[in-house]
Subunit: 114 residues, 2 copies
DNA sequence: GACACATTTCAACAGCACTTGAAATGTCTA
DNA sequence: TAGACATTTCAAGTGCTGTTGAAATGTGTC
């Protein structure tokens, strides 16, 4: 993953409503969720929701498909995975002993906090 | 980790210079790196660098200590670990089969460069 | 076709983010 | 103490971000 992509994805997630929206879409799974349902859950006006979903889509975090009158949004898990891998590499780069996330078991012994 | 913390950390990382700065600090390890060296590497004016480091510090991603005339910044690995854990939980919530970097285990590719 | 429904597009606005330059602060050395 | 060095603080300007309201687009139903 290119640095610029990572920045875009981070920026897309760095907002309350969007992080919530993504979480809801993760819960919804691959089948996704209509925009209307998202708007209701997030208490956003439809145009505001569209605004945020556009950012998530530009970052590659969600996909859309039409189903009747509804637009169905779904999380793009792959993108999140790539971001996590990128961040993990960033954090561990050359020093795996300092940074061991992802499994839930984090080794902290070697950390020297000032 | 609270959602609001995650948003703050994501926002702190969602910027070119800051992502670069953090990566350099990760490379530098726990001993850290003087601001001046960072400014030179990133080709930032000192005040611009301070601006960005303040944001990283507010997010808990770096710590500072004085050493003579220099301010030594160091990455706070713990914070990055927590963020990664949070994102992993988000992404896999209730559906571990959907969110797994690589196919089986964690895939470790060559380190990405900017 | 006419109408309701679901969502997007457009326009305007307040506020925050990033950049730049100048001045101030804190520390070391002579 | 004077002066240089390292960094921070302050102030001003530009552009982007998120919000809101109104209008437009696309789709199903009668």
């Amino acid at each position: 993953m290119k640095k610029q992509s990572a920045v875009s994805i981070l920026a897309a997630l760095a907002q309350d409503s969007r992080l919530d929206a993504f979480r809801l879409l993760v819960e919804a799974g691959p089948q996704g969720m209509p925009a209307g349902h998202l708007a209701a859950s997030l208490e956003l006006t439809p145009n505001a929701l569209t605004f945020h979903l556009d950012r998530l889509r530009d970052a590659g975090l969600v996909t859309v498909r039409r189903e009747g009158r509804s637009m169905i949004y779904a999380a793009q898990f792959e993108t999140m995975n790539k971001l996590i891998s990128y961040l993990t590499d960033q954090c561990c780069q050359g020093r795996p002993e300092l940074c061991r996330p992802g499994t839930g078991k984090v080794r902290r012994r070697a950390l020297a906090s000032s």
